[in-house]
């Protein structure tokens, strides 16, 4: 909301391959400071690959990834996390045999130990349930609870730029609404966000801007309000 036009995250001319398969094709995406941007697209359109490219889990063959203006294309993942990036991954990817508390601690892996207490307090304030369940093994929690752990874990690092891969997947409608409220809330505290979603309506309703991906190409982009009205958006989905 408080988007003030300074780019926090930039993808410029990104081409990412898996082996010989060309996945992302000349992708350009910008997320400004404090902005909430959603990345839409059908299955296998390259949304998760985009996030992995941003994190450095896969390297683009050509193109540039910038964080707060700095070229990080060649930097390892840990260095990007240190610069304020965090992710709520697809399928949550919690550390199942570890407790909720330990999962959160892993989220703050690169934070100085001295800050840990404050981070925990912040996250517990947002998700009081996680405090109650701190000794429960993450793998034994329900889907909705796991989603909270995944969110809390990502927030433990005090990110400036948060990536979310289908945060509403597998949640009951009431929980979807609730999780988008939290996303909105976190965004309003100044965190830039790139949210991957298949659920275009809900995500566009809280986003500032959006991009639509189809077979690795950005086929549509614009203000969320405009995209919501857009006829082509439906077409883009149908043409996946």
């Amino acid at each position: 909301m408080s988007a003030n036009g300074t780019p926090m995250l930039e993808l410029e001319g990104i081409n990412t391959y898996y082996g010989q398969i060309h996945i992302l094709q000349d992708e350009n995406i910008v997320v400004n400071e404090g902005e909430l941007v959603c990345l839409l697209g059908g299955n296998a359109s390259g949304k998760s690959t985009t996030l992995k490219t941003i994190l450095g889990l896969v390297r683009p063959r050509t193109g540039t990834v910038r964080l707060a203006g700095e070229d990080v294309t060649q930097l390892p993942t840990a260095h990007r996390i240190k610069r304020g990036l965090a992710i709520v991954p697809e399928n949550r990817r919690l550390f199942g045999p570890m407790t909720v508390l330990e999962n959160l601690e892993m989220g703050a892996y690169l934070r100085p130990k001295a800050d840990l207490k404050a981070e925990f307090e912040r996250v517990y304030e947002l998700f009081p349930l996680l405090y109650e369940r701190r000794t429960q093994l993450a793998g034994t929690m329900s889907g909705g609870e796991q989603q909270m752990v995944a969110m809390g874990r990502a927030l433990m690092s005090q990110p400036k730029m948060l990536l979310m891969d289908e945060p509403s997947m597998g949640l009951a409608p009431i929980l979807v609404e609730k999780s988008f409220e939290i996303i909105k809330h976190v965004n309003e505290s100044g965190v830039g966000m790139l949210v991957v979603e298949q659920n275009a309506n809900v995500s566009l309703s809280i986003a500032d801007r959006g991009y639509v991906l189809s077979t690795g190409r950005v086929v549509l982009e614009g203000k969320a309000a405009d995209l919501l009205q857009n006829e082509e958006l439906r077409k883009a989905y149908l043409g996946r």
Binding site: L94, P97, K113, T140
Partner: protein, 307 residues
């Protein structure tokens, strides 16, 4: 009854050494899903470093340092030397094959194993090396101790058992309490998710090799305090450590500890009640039975990974 106590004591001594070795297999397997066949040879190198260190310290008849200092120094030397060896093996034999098909690092592991064993044989010959700990303080380590019934529990066994357990407890604390230990557990559960947290996977892997190899070094010294060693001993002992890890559920740390003890007892009772000639065979029968019927080990549980 005395026989039983004696065999139990033997099993405990043997088992605590197997447990230390099994931990190295499990630590590495947990993170890399790699059977580090060279691990037994790292153990062997540990036994030799201990032997060399004793000679440097003046031998056991007339050591230049007090007995306890000598024992601690040779253990630390073996741990440090093996840790370095473990790092070198990881760096040159496994890391270049990180993204290769899984069979490649396995073959590399076998190659490293033979390379170490036969290099040592070439350098130091194939004869038995005896620490001769009986000469320390005129046999004090064997004569002192306490009795259970009519069975003497000599100091030398107490040293082995207590040190092994202390190391296992320290490792357990490290893995369950410290940040790097938790990062190891996170990495072994889901490597990519761990990377997403900013955990440096390469460092975690090196750390696993350092820990596992240092424990193998310690196990080498504790073993060779009482039993002569030789250049190719790593094959047999490594296979036993591996069997212990499989019994406990490979990749599991408490499993490795439990598996080591179970195997130690099984081997010792088999030696006492059946025959010494069959005890090694028993180990392999156990290994095969577990691999076929219960590959997840005794402590293996259903996968609690959800979604």
């Amino acid at each position: 009854m005395d026989t039983f106590i004696q065999l139990t004591l033997n099993g405990l001594t043997l088992g605590s050494v197997y447990a230390l070795i099994a931990l190295g297999y499990s630590l590495v397997y947990g993170i890399l899903k790699l059977l580090n066949f060279a691990h037994g040879d790292v153990f062997m190198v540990g036994t030799f470093i201990g032997f060399g260190a004793i000679q440097l310290l003046g031998g056991t008849v007339n050591p230049i340092v007090p007995v306890w200092t000598l024992l601690i120094l040779i253990t630390l030397a073996a741990m440090a030397g093996c840790a370095v060896l473990g790092v070198v093996i990881e760096r040159f034999a496994y890391r270049p094959l990180r993204d290769a098909p899984r069979i490649a690092p396995l073959i590399s592991a076998l190659g490293v194993s033979f390379f170490i064993a036969y290099s040592m044989q070439l350098l130091f010959g194939s004869e038995l090396r005896n620490y001769d700990t009986f000469s320390l303080d005129g046999g004090a380590l064997y004569l002192e101790g306490f009795d259970i019934g009519n069975v003497r529990v000599p100091m030398i066994r107490i040293i082995t058992i207590v040190s092994a357990f202390v190391m296992m407890i320290l490792l357990w604390l490290l893995v369950s309490r410290t940040r790097v230990g938790k990062a190891m557990r996170a990495t072994s559960f889901d490597r990519e998710a761990a990377a997403m947290m900013g955990i440096d996977i390469d460092k975690v892997i090196v750390f696993a090799f350092v820990l596992g190899s240092a424990l193998a070094g310690a196990a080498g010294v504790l073993f060779a305090l009482r039993i002569p060693t030789y250049a190719t001993i790593g094959f047999l002992i490594g296979l036993k450590g591996f069997t212990a890890a499989v019994i406990g559920g490979i990749g599991s740390i408490p499993g490795a500890m439990a598996g080591g003890l179970v195997l130690g007892f099984a081997e010792s009772y088999a030696q006492g009640y059946i025959s010494t000639r069959w005890s090694d065979l028993l180990v392999f029968v156990i290994l095969i039975l577990f691999l076929v019927f219960r590959p997840q080990g005794i402590l293996g549980k259903a996968d609690i990974r959800k979604v």
